[in-house]
Symmetry: C2
Subunit: 352 residues, 2 copies
């Protein structure tokens, strides 16, 4: 199944509510359109090849130094560049399929370590398999499981990575959706981000998948190593112009976080309550994120897809995520109205 978009997905004459794409339902900050229109003339010049202004603004948002900033044509480009720099790539499964894909493009051996049954990282397995020169890519929170790595576990993993002289690439594209626990950029500041990089992106939280703006925080040495392989002018002028309009809209950021927390709880509580009362029986896993992984208890993911489609809802089947098999689906946290429709669909035996 192809990657869905955020807006309602049209199937024949019917409009489906898209629960498959995990993007902020509050959409983009209000000031963005104005900022982009104003930047029109910037298209007529080459972007600053060093992206000095964009790096400065991003550093202010992430609360790190300019010299720590890496930019990408989306987070995927940063992941890709990292894969090219290291000997082998290690991932926990299930996780975002692009990690493994980019490793294979660069012909790097890919080592997959299954998460434990509660989807926490298998520390012993990692310790056994990790070697010098390895790149460990870890979603935090992880997609599709939706879990943050606990602070102590993360510190433990970092210690293992440093000991092996490997590298830890944290993909935190969904960071802002999570309850406040710890900020890895602040947590690893004292280590100078050695053997470590933390990726974030405008794609999910600022609902801008089309603008292609990924950014990351790492050591100046790693910034320099990446700069040698980055493609010239890889960030477009609109992404450059968007940054100041989105990063400092505190009202948008606050409202988005509150909305997701409230609606995630609403969905989890109601799936717990009604998930096994309808035709399709579902069990929700815990989530820290703006999406929820569900186990389909009495059918396959494809059956669930059809079931929800009939009820005007598009969900994400998870068979493409390794180790999940054919009985998991993922849904996004959307508006309260949309979320109610989802709950109605699972709870009513007679719906449609």
């Amino acid at each position: 199944m192809e990657h869905g978009g955020f807006l309602s997905y049209k199937k024949k004459d019917e409009v489906l509510i898209d629960f498959s794409s995990n993007i902020n339902p509050l959409m983009t900050p209000k000031g963005l359109k104005k900022a982009l229109s104003a930047s029109f003339d910037n298209l007529l010049v080459y972007p600053d090849i060093r992206y000095r202004s964009l790096k400065k603004i991003t550093a202010k948002y992430l609360k790190c130094g300019c010299e720590n900033i890496v930019l990408g044509n989306g987070a995927v480009e940063i992941i890709d560049n990292f894969c090219s720099l290291f000997k082998r790539v290690i991932v926990f499964t299930p996780s975002f399929s692009e990690y493994g894909l980019r490793a294979l493009v660069h012909k790097k051996p890919l080592i997959e370590i299954p998460f434990l049954s509660d989807f926490s990282p298998d520390i012993e397995g990692l310790e056994k398999k990790l070697r010098t020169g390895d790149l460990l890519i870890l979603g935090n929170p992880n997609n599709p499981t939706g879990l943050r790595i606990e602070k102590n576990t993360l510190l433990q993993i970092y210690a293992i990575v440093k000991k092996a002289d490997a590298f830890l690439l944290l993909d935190e594209a969904f960071y802002e959706f999570c309850p406040p626990d710890y900020d890895s950029i602040s947590l690893f500041k004292k280590d100078g981000y050695k053997n470590l990089c933390i990726i974030r992106a405008a794609t999910k939280f600022f609902a801008l998948p089309g603008i292609r703006l990924g950014y990351a925080c790492t050591s100046p040495e790693t910034v320099s190593a990446l700069s040698k392989i980055e493609i010239a002018w890889h960030i477009n002028a609109f992404a450059e112009a968007a940054a100041p309009a989105i990063f400092f809209d505190e009202d948008f950021i606050k409202k988005s976080k509150a909305h997701i927390q409230k609606e995630r709880d609403f969905l989890l509580e109601n799936i717990e309550k009604y998930g096994t009362s309808g035709e399709i029986k579902l069990k929700a896993y815990k989530s820290h994120c703006n999406f929820i992984l569900l186990k389909v208890l009495n059918a396959k993911d494809e059956d669930a897809l059809k079931f929800f489609e009939k009820r005007g809802i598009l969900i994400r089947t998870c068979c493409s995520f390794k180790t999940l098999g054919d009985n998991h689906i993922r849904i996004a946290v959307r508006s309260h109205k949309d979320n109610c429709k989802f709950i109605k669909a699972i709870s009513s035996k007679n719906s449609k």
Copy 2:
């Protein structure tokens, strides 16, 4: 020296006219801003991961099939992907420095063959050095020399490339600025673009360096090989939205071509006439393009840079282009008014 932008370059309190950046002086087509404002909502969805609509529009503009289209985050990304696919990279020198840079990033041996003294390709040299699995990258017209490859020479090169089972990557980013001679996309249609790819871009002719839109025409087999290594969602939503607004503005295309032809002739004639009468003595090389390579006869390129800066003009020194040494500069064809200022600067002994 860093890559210049198109708009006037400000130095202290002084505004320099930028002859260093070779972008269409007629700027972008008029309908673009409207098309981009209208596309704002598309930022909220992921671009189509297969870019079907953009490929269709690009194929229509290039007059080839959709199945022949490759897209890039600028032409440089396409060049980069090609470098990763082949064993060695061959370039003629002097040429665009990114060719060699991208080869080195992918750790591919780089073979440099100097152009002959009239800047035409050294066919014998190529025949001797080309091997199976090589990628030959050739600017057509070439930057900074500004020359199109003659049709028969190009056919000869293609025959050599096919015989060796190598690959010819034509970088035609400046194609639309050239006098109508032949269209390589039409010329190689009968060959099905086997062992061949023709790159073009919105950057120069449509004056959109910030939007990052490169495109190319090649065989479906090569399209498929590239698709396996391309980064997901590498083209941003604005580039997608811009294509229909720029490709079919025939009035803009016609006026731009006519302007460049007329003003290139104006510059060449007047440099011929006055080039050796002033303080800095210049000889212009022939050009088919929107820029002109000049030899500085009585000084170094850095002296010429200072000379022109004092007269409110920014030129491009060419010492970064291999084989040109330190006595060449490049200027862009600009508006008639700006071009007159350039001629005035070279012809007047008493200017400033």
